[in-house]
């Protein structure tokens, strides 16, 4: 059978670890190189604003394509067929919102953070505080999901099973080591490299992960003589599900025979997830602040073209990888390794490598794909840490506590300490939470972004009457309703797979994904809040729109 651990010898693991080390070394060199010229706040938060469209496009792809989409989507397709595809489609189409409404305007009207654009024509302190709270919530949810996943992933990629040891570590110890090492690395990227170093790291890692996914997908297609239909046919017959494997319904919106109410909830849950995915991306702070690294709005917009091309191609590749794993590895072998399916792509790479060059080939391919997954974790986590530290330093420390009077230097020093602090907290929580099922945190981050950030961002750009009360109400309304509904959902309590287990049951909200309710609620809060306050500032609205669409008076790149 193709289970990793049975075949994985210490020498294979050393190969994988060596590749990890090479990659870590390269990224550290990049960070040192990129970080040398980081001294001002513009350098630290926005990388000097000198990145070209393709550079930022690659960095956005590096920031966005997480291990969850690299391994998770391929795994979901491998286990449940078609439904994994639904996820990647939402992740991709979402970019149109960012392209058509947000990228250029945000770049032109803000400086470092999402709060800059949101608070532009409002009272600074309340709006900055609200925007910082939502930025931190979204980024920390996403960060925890990545960090907890990291521990499991490192043990998986090294093939350490319960009861086995490697270099004196058992599976539990290896998990902790994985989390701590990732935490140290990402803090190092951010604290030493700032946005400039982090951007280059993300560009490099985007090339690594997309490149390797491309190679692996081509090898799968070569195996099937580029006949997609026969690949799908094989996947369907090996899965034991037949044609149903190629249709929606095995994972999301499942139909429960004899329980039409549960069936209804499941289907609404699917729609709710779909909404959060498509509207969430354009509200994710760690993605949005990347637009500030370009010299002007036009370049920011063009970088989204690159990002869409890269991300779209990547999701097409995961389709091939997922069905390839279903056909060539098989569901049973994948579940034996990892019940969530995260091991599907690594196992597929091992099988493909073995077909080409025996067990050595298998070990090499596995090590390569494992490093690609590791690259995905590191670059996403670094992006999240920089979003947190920028918001803490620029919005809360300088904007709120110092009334905007702190110097750029003070802000940078604070941001570096903030990066260390956030990193340390994330590591500690992740170590304690490592056995909890936290996969829902990614969907929650998207739901908060879609409910709290996107409506207020769009209103502040396009609705003249919008004001401080509306922005504050919209952000807190969207944030609290998304988090609150998840707390009272089956994700949190009442079922076997819940975070709190079956013992506690406070789940009165039937959907796992809050978007269907929280997005309209966030919108309503923003509208009602606006109308209840008489504040209005037409001059600032006028200058914001002119800035957004012409780029007049926009922040410029650093001159070197």
């Amino acid at each position: 059978m193709n289970t990793l651990a049975q075949e994985m010898s210490d020498s294979d693991r050393i190969l994988t670890i060596s590749l990890f080390m090479v990659m870590v070394l390269v990224t550290i060199l990049i960070t040192i190189q990129g970080g040398r010229k980081t001294s001002t706040a513009t350098d630290f938060h926005s990388g000097g604003r000198g990145f070209s469209a393709w550079q930022n496009g690659f960095a956005v792809a590096g920031d966005y394509v997480s291990a969850a989409s690299f391994l998770g989507i391929a795994g979901t397709i491998a286990l449940y067929g078609y439904d994994g595809f639904l996820y990647s489609i939402g992740f991709l189409v979402a970019w149109l919102v960012a392209l058509l409404l947000v990228a250029e305007s945000l770049r032109n009207s803000g400086r470092f953070t999402v709060a800059d654009a949101l608070s532009y024509r409002m009272k600074q302190r309340p709006v900055r505080t609200a925007a910082a709270v939502s930025t931190l919530s979204i980024s920390i949810f996403y960060l925890l999901a990545q960090m907890v996943g990291t521990g499991a992933l490192v043990t998986l990629l090294l093939g350490i099973k319960e009861g086995e040891t490697f270099l004196g570590m058992d599976a539990g110890a290896a998990k902790v080591v994985g989390i701590v090492v990732t935490g140290l690395l990402m803090v190092a990227y951010v604290a030493f490299g700032g946005m400039k170093g982090t951007t280059w790291v993300q560009i490099f890692q985007a090339c690594v992960k997309i490149g390797l996914a491309f190679v692996l997908a081509i090898l799968v297609l070569v195996h099937y003589n580029f006949n997609l239909s026969s690949l799908l046919g094989d996947a369907a017959s090996v899965s034991g599900q037949g044609a149903a494997f190629l249709e929606p319904g095995l994972r999301y919106g499942t139909e429960v025979a004899g329980d039409s109410l549960q069936t209804l909830w499941n289907k609404l849950d699917l729609i709710s997830l779909g909404l959060a995915l498509v509207l969430g991306t354009a509200g994710l702070p760690h993605v949005l602040i990347r637009f500030y690294t370009t010299p002007d709005g036009k370049t920011a917009r063009k970088s989204v073209n690159w990002a869409i091309g890269l991300i779209g191609m990547f999701y097409l590749l995961t389709l091939v990888l997922g069905f390839g794993a279903a056909a060539m590895v098989g569901k049973e072998a994948i579940i034996a390794e990892n019940p969530a399916g995260n091991s599907a792509a690594p196992q597929l790479s091992q099988v493909i490598g073995e077909n080409i060059a025996g067990s050595t080939g298998g070990a090499i391919m596995l090590a390569l794909i494992a490093s690609a997954a590791f690259a995905a974790i590191l670059s996403v986590v670094a992006g999240l840490i920089i979003a947190c530290s920028s918001s803490l330093a620029h919005d809360l420390y300088n904007g709120v506590f110092k009334h905007g009077k702190a110097s750029g230097k003070q802000e940078v020093v604070f941001a570096k300490f903030a990066a260390v602090g956030v990193g340390a907290i994330a590591v500690v929580i992740a170590v304690f939470a490592q056995d909890l099922n936290v996969a829902f945190l990614v969907a929650l981050a998207f739901a908060v972004a879609a409910s709290a950030n996107l409506p207020t961002l769009l209103f502040s750009l396009f609705w003249k009457r919008f004001n401080t009360a509306g922005a504050v109400a919209g952000i807190y309304g969207g944030l609290i309703s998304s988090i609150g509904l998840v707390i009272f959902s089956p994700t949190f309590s009442g079922t076997e797979t819940s975070l709190l287990g079956e013992g506690v049951d406070i789940a009165w909200f039937p959907l796992s994904n809050p978007g269907l309710v929280s997005i309209p609620l966030g919108l309503i809060c923003a509208v009602v809040g606006t109308l209840m306050s008489s504040e209005s500032n037409p001059d600032r609205f006028a200058s914001m729109q002119v800035r957004a669409f012409t780029g007049a008076g926009a922040e410029r790149a650093s001159v070197h």
Binding site: I89, L96, V97, L99, S407, G551
Partner: protein, 118 residues
């Protein structure tokens, strides 16, 4: 070494009032109208198509399962069509901005900056 023009506050050459004054200029009104005429309907159409796809996935599974040829069913083709639409809109928006937006927007910016420079 690095020198950044302005570390705090907006770049200095032009005042907020001078920027705001452009808002009522007929050329700016026209620029906004041109932009919204493209982005709003295109985005709404793309999102509507996505929503239709999600609804079909939830409620029309037999329809999605219709086999077109070999093992390729309608669901797969409709899913791939989402990729095609996203790529197409990206391309079309790029063409639109190159033909009808960037030049006009840059002209207005130059106007503001020149009028504002003392």
């Amino acid at each position: 070494m690095t020198t950044t023009p302005e570390d705090n506050g907006p770049p200095p050459e032009v005042s907020d009032a001078e920027i705001a004054a452009m808002h009522d200029d007929p050329r700016f009104v026209e620029l906004k109208r041109t932009l919204f005429r493209f982005t709003v309907p295109v985005l709404l159409a793309a999102l509507a198509w996505y929503l239709v796809y999600v609804l079909l996935s939830a409620y029309a599974r037999d329809f999605m399962g219709i086999v077109l040829f070999g093992n390729i069913n309608l669901g797969l083709i409709l899913g791939l069509s989402q990729f095609a639409v996203t790529f197409y809109v990206t391309w079309a928006y790029n063409r639109f901005t190159a033909r009808k937006f960037d030049q006009q927007s840059a002209a207005l910016r130059d106007d503001i900056m020149n009028g504002g420079a003392k």
